[in-house]
């Protein structure tokens, strides 16, 4: 059987989740490996959420928020961006390839961009192969 990665995507309610919905209403097709979890703002996405996704066995984590300047709460996405950079370093230290996590801005009208991103990221994760974090953590404990 071919390897099918599991990807968790955290999307902010106002722009990105609406953009993903638009991909649906426009009947665009993308990889079914992307599983979306909605948060009100990308600023709500805690490092713990991302780490927990990997810990539970996700092969990739996608984070989407409104474009800079467009956050429904003014600047949640800047906070998210700052945290993202710290998290990238942390993942590398944990031995994870930092490319397993991606941050992109998707506006409410960018259904097409979301569908393309979903496919592109899925292919990236597929090429990286399964993430071993869950197994490693389980053997250690």
């Amino acid at each position: 059987m071919t390897y099918e990665p599991t990807i968790i995507a955290f999307l902010c309610n106002w722009c990105s989740y609406t953009g993903a919905d638009l991909a649906g209403t426009s009947r665009m097709k993308y990889a079914s490996n992307i599983n979306i979890i909605r948060v009100m703002c990308s600023g709500r996405i805690e490092p713990m959420f991302v780490l927990s996704a990997f810990r539970e066995g996700a092969d990739g984590v996608l984070i989407c928020g409104c474009h800079p300047g467009d956050c429904h709460y003014h600047e949640g996405n800047y906070k998210c961006l700052r945290r993202f950079h710290l998290l990238q370093k942390y993942l590398t230290q944990m031995g994870l390839n930092e490319e397993r996590m991606r941050l992109e801005w998707i506006s409410a009208s960018e259904g097409k961009q979301f569908a393309e991103l979903a496919d592109d990221f899925t292919e990236k994760i597929r090429s990286l192969g399964p993430c071993k974090l869950k197994e490693t953590a389980e053997t250690l404990t």
């Binding site: 989740y17 979890i37 600023g43 805690e46 996704a53 066995g57 429904h72 409410a108 960018e110």
Partner: protein, 578 residues
């Protein structure tokens, strides 16, 4: 703790979901999850029988949590929350799994789509165990309304509201009121006078006791939330502090500037003018070339700046009919003039419009078709011995011939596009824009005048190009919505605010620094942070920044999201292994 009893409902959405997701299989499999009392699939969950099914089950099986797996929560979350309320449950004991917009409509492999649907529903089931009852929060509504933009849409909305006795603040960027309608002579399809209609309305608005007009004014920043907005407006060196409960955005669109299309020579050839400039001629009562002569040949070119990937892909919707209007006006002003309509496709939908097309084509008007995508006509100066001033070369699509049209006056039917400051305005009122820079409505079909920001409405052209009757209908629709909230005196607002656990808070003030709304203050006596719930908008930023975990983001708590992740992953991995 009370026993958790979950009801799970998988919607077919007719065939929308059922054709790509095996809904029965999803229901069967998830009925086996712990704490799930029943799991059912049904044709249309949002229909009355669908909602009744939930209500009956809640009563019969003593359910205390409901998961509906259907369309996007952005469409029906509120519907189902109300269903729960009708059954006597707290509306927040509800979670949706989006298996239409984010599964059946975007995937084309039924097995994979069904698998993903199962994982998303499992995530919702796992999350809902951590849901808790939240109390409704209502805020009072300030009965004043801010209307931004004084075109026909803004004026109509202002009058409508003011006539019910409410205060209206109308802010107009220009000195003159009336927008585009004040710049046109007659209106299609019945050729009524635009001036007569708009001037009567401007006159009423200027003398209305409940309307305060701010001319030459733009809005800088708006604070607050539905029912309780405020803004400081600067005008003539003085500042006014305005308070209002709702906002109507009616900033319209501006005409496309055709200088960039080199085929048309606008700005270089003196007798190539825009439709808006032709309206001015009509208003002045004289159709003349720059040399002061009556034109013998007039060409009207459609779709300038519209329906072309180099400019705007959309149709500006009003120009085809305006072009026909001009043909009629030209025919009556200069009976013997030759009129040429160079069009791409004739769009004559709407009441009275096809009729206008038919009657105009009987008035000796030449209709010539060109390819708007690949082959625009070219306007050139005529040779000295030609009897006309200009010649338009084009490949006529229907005959397949290359032709030359003589012209003394060329009218470019310029499209409509976003105002230059549209983006800044969207930011200051907190609304989104679509790809073509029109303001985005809450839902294109179900909620076309509201926006995703409660208390903010978009009407008229700023939402998309449209003719005057549609702009007026939208204005009236928005005012009806606002009047309903004013009448009730209060509205329900989201309860998903943040909360500080004082026992855990270490007083580091990190949350105060990150909150975009200064909703958090510091209680010096107890050395802890306190959230002001009336100001908090529930973005959750403070919750993710707090180092001690003292902040709970209601309805998006750590436990809720972490269990959602866990539920999703374990189902997904379990199914992968099969």
């Amino acid at each position: 703790m009370e026993e958790i009893r979950i009801g799970v409902y998988i919607c077919w959405c007719g065939t929308n979901i059922a054709k790509m997701v095996d809904v029965e299989d999803v229901a069967r499999e998830l009925s086996e999850m712990p704490d799930v009392v029943i799991a059912k699939d049904y044709k249309y969950m949002c229909s009355d029988p669908g909602q009744d099914l939930i209500i009956k089950d809640i009563k019969k099986h003593n359910l205390n949590r409901i998961v509906v797996s259907a369309c996007s929560p952005r469409i029906h979350e509120l519907t189902f929350r109300r269903t729960l309320e009708n059954a006597g449950l707290n509306p927040y004991m509800f979670q949706m799994a989006n298996i239409r917009e984010q599964v059946s409509w975007v995937h084309d492999d039924r097995i994979k789509a069904t698998k993903k649907a199962k994982a998303l529903v499992a995530a919702a089931i796992n999350r809902i165990k951590w849901h808790e009852s939240l109390d409704k929060r209502t805020v009072s509504i300030n009965p004043s309304t801010l209307v931004i933009g004084g075109g026909i849409a803004g004026i109509t909305a202002a009058l409508e509201l003011a006539d019910t006795g409410s205060q209206v603040f109308l802010v107009e960027k220009e000195r003159k009121l009336g927008g585009n309608m004040a710049k046109i002579d007659l209106t299609f399809p019945y050729l009524n006078s635009a001036q007569q209609i708009i001037n009567e309305k401007i006159d009423r608005i200027e003398h209305h006791p409940n309307i305060r007009i701010f001319r030459n004014t733009v809005i800088d920043e708006i604070f607050g939330y539905i029912g309780n907005f405020n803004s400081t407006i600067g005008q003539n060196g003085t500042e006014a502090e305005l308070k209002f409960g709702n906002i109507i955005v009616a900033t319209g669109l501006k005409s496309f500037d055709p200088s960039g299309i080199k085929n048309y020579g606008y700005g270089k050839l003196p007798d190539v003018i825009t439709s808006l400039e032709f309206e001015q001629m009509l208003l002045n009562g004289k159709i003349l070339t720059k040399e002061g002569k009556e034109p013998a040949n007039v060409a009207i070119i459609h779709c300038v700046g519209s329906r072309n990937s180099d400019e705007h892909e959309y149709c500006s919707r009003t120009c085809c009919m305006s072009a026909l209007k001009y043909a009629n006006q030209l025919r009556s002003a200069i009976p013997e003039v030759n009129i040429y309509q160079a069009y791409a496709d004739m769009r004559a939908f709407g009441k009275g419009c096809e009729e206008l097309y038919c009657s105009t084509s009987r008035k000796d008007v030449m209709f010539l078709m060109f390819d708007q995508q690949k082959d625009l006509p070219v306007i050139m100066e005529a040779k000295a011995d030609d009897s006309c001033k200009m010649v338009i070369e084009m490949n006529e699509k229907l005959s397949g011939e290359r032709i030359e049209i003589p012209a003394d006056l060329v009218i470019l039917m310029v499209g409509l596009e976003a105002q230059d400051d549209a983006k800044e305005l969207a930011r200051s009122v907190g609304i989104s824009m679509c790809g073509n820079s029109f303001f985005m409505e809450k839902h294109p079909k179900l909620d076309p005048v509201a926006t995703t920001t409660s208390g903010v409405y978009v009407v008229g052209n700023c939402q998309a190009p449209k003719e005057i009757p549609d702009a007026i209908s939208q204005a009236k629709a928005a005012t009806a919505r606002i009047m309903a909230t004013i009448k009730q005196g209060e509205v329900e607002v989201e309860v998903i605010t943040a909360e500080v656990n004082e026992d855990i808070c270490c007083g580091c003030k990190t949350c105060i620094q990150v909150c975009p709304y200064t909703a958090i203050t510091f209680d010096e006596n107890n050395s802890v942070s306190v959230v002001n719930e009336a100001i908090c908008k529930g973005c959750g930023t403070c919750g993710s920044a707090c180092p001690t975990g003292a902040i709970r983001s209601r309805h998006f708590t750590d436990n809720q999201i972490l269990s959602q992740i866990k539920g999703l992953m374990s189902k997904s991995l379990e199914l992968n292994e099969l």
